[in-house]
Symmetry: C2
Subunit: 325 residues, 2 copies
């Protein structure tokens, strides 16, 4: 223990994704004591890299006494440290806590949150987002939330009380990246756009195309033609295309919601991206959703509590429902 | 003149696109005497490359006497040999013939077909496809056709008599290419699929997702999850994704057609791709469209006739309507 630390470390939480790693040291109330963020995603690690990265983090925080460790994300995938089978969706907080995978390490057992699988004609999967969703779950069993997690593979999830009932993946972020880097649309921009307020206008212009009634594949080409027609400066192509793709996602997601009369979504994730999504909601005439930020540490803490990791008592001595905050 | 040639060359027609060049030597009836096809698209040529390629083709066919020359495609774009302004759509065969651009060469004047521009909130452009469309135009002024030209940037065009009245670009081919080469979807396939008939089944499986009511960005990820769920062998991911994207295009294109009660489309372009499109039409419950193949040489010949290039009489001496076959 680092003697200057006023609070006692109680949990090492990790969100270990494809490209990046975020780790938090939390106390027994779930307060964040330390944060680590690096491009140490599972695709960037050499063989044996997982153990080394974990040791480095613990050494960096001078954690001489072992603490419970819980990770979520692609670290539990077939390309991760230890594959943890998907749980079928719907899945409750308690089912997630009961389904943790185990990876022995030099510093004790690393627990890994399972991802979720939704079966059906178009099956869908998530790994990591289930933990972020747990981080904003209420304790009211009758509450109903729609949680939107923007990103490379955006997720729209339905949450009823402490159960994730349904979700859908939109490849919005990845589509944007591959189209800007590798398609004819990305060849146009020549200069970085100045931060002059016009970026939001170009973004909104792209968002509004979602209301045209023309499907996505028939609107993408407009990111080129609006420049050819001098309706958009080419430096703003990325903002327009981002708006076009995010607008598509929100238009489709909200159309599905309106059919079921669910509540206004909550945005979870990186704040700047959530703000762009919020702008798109308002451009499309929807109320602005609230932004919850990154709820992964809260979700990890909550799952650790539900799995009785914090008190280090074997979980079979506890009521299966556990004591959750 | 090559003495063994029974027919007299009357027109050199060129479809000079971004990545490839197709050239045809035609007689006075529009019969193809010679064909040249090479990866000599405008993006593959060094400075001055246009003139050299043209000279090489004429030398290869031993054309000692000059012939009228007419080109369509990206050769008329800002990155081509000579920029020819877009004509506004709707545009008739005669307007296209009257709008030819001119590029002097060592072998006489090269005429270049203008592209078309459709203005509106989502502007659209074509270069080259207008000539293919002219190639299947009837002579009945009251006929109505929908022409579908599959490709990197697929076009759906409405043709009334000899007028192209409307069109829409779908970035289907380019989306497929960038997703297979650069996204997570393309990382899965490990082996080339055997030609065992199952490729069409995987393609049809992708096509059918267009009927799910879920928009494109929310279905793309299924190209990964159907493999994870063992519903599709990973070797067939490309066929599934191709079906998903082509299905989207046809579903959207036909929905727009049904709203206007236009006729069953005609497919124009490379035969193997047209056959895949035809399969997708039937999978989605539509009648199989006819396949017209590559109509660019017919279109070039027709435009050359309308522009009075074949008889080498100055066009101002002719009736503007010209004599078209």
């Amino acid at each position: 223990m680092k003697s200057l630390d006023p609070a006692k470390p109680a949990l090492l939480g990790l969100d270990w994704g494809t490209s990046s790693l975020r780790a938090w040291l939390l106390d027994a109330q779930g307060i964040i004591l330390h944060t680590h963020h690096a491009r140490q995603g599972i695709l960037h690690l050499p063989d044996g890299g997982f153990a080394q990265v974990l040791s480095d983090i613990l050494a960096q925080w001078r954690l001489n006494d072992p603490v419970p460790m819980l990770a979520c994300g692609m670290v539990g995938s077939i390309n991760g440290w230890r594959e943890v089978s998907y749980l079928p969706c719907p899945a409750s907080l308690c089912q997630l806590a009961d389904g943790l995978g185990l990876q022995p390490t030099a510093h004790g057992m690393l627990h890994i949150v399972p991802g979720l699988l939704k079966d059906g004609s178009l099956p869908d999967v998530m790994r990591g987002e289930e933990t972020q969703i747990v981080g904003i779950m209420g304790t009211d069993g009758n509450s109903h939330h729609t949680v939107v997690l923007p990103g490379t593979h955006s997720k729209w999830a339905q949450v009823q009380g402490q159960i994730i009932t349904e979700f859908r993946t939109f490849m919005t972020g990845e589509l944007f990246a591959v189209l800007m880097r590798h398609s004819i649309l990305g060849r146009l921009p020549s200069t970085a756009p100045p931060d002059d307020g016009y970026r939001d206008e170009a973004f909104a212009m792209g968002v509004r195309t979602a209301q045209s009634g023309i499907p996505l594949a028939g609107r993408l080409f407009s990111a080129r033609t609006v420049v050819l027609r001098n309706r958009l400066e080419r430096a703003y192509t990325a903002d327009y295309l981002s708006g076009l793709l995010i607008g598509e996602e929100i238009h489709a997601g909200m159309a599905a919601l309106e059919a079921t009369q669910h509540a206004t979504p909550v945005l979870v994730g990186e704040r700047a991206l959530c703000q762009r999504y919020r702008l798109a909601f308002t451009v499309l005439g929807h109320p602005p959703p609230s932004i919850a930020g990154n709820t992964a540490p809260a979700g990890l803490f909550r799952l650790a509590c539900a799995a009785h990791l914090l008190d280090r008592t074997p979980s079979h001595l506890h009521d299966q429902k556990g004591a959750v905050i």
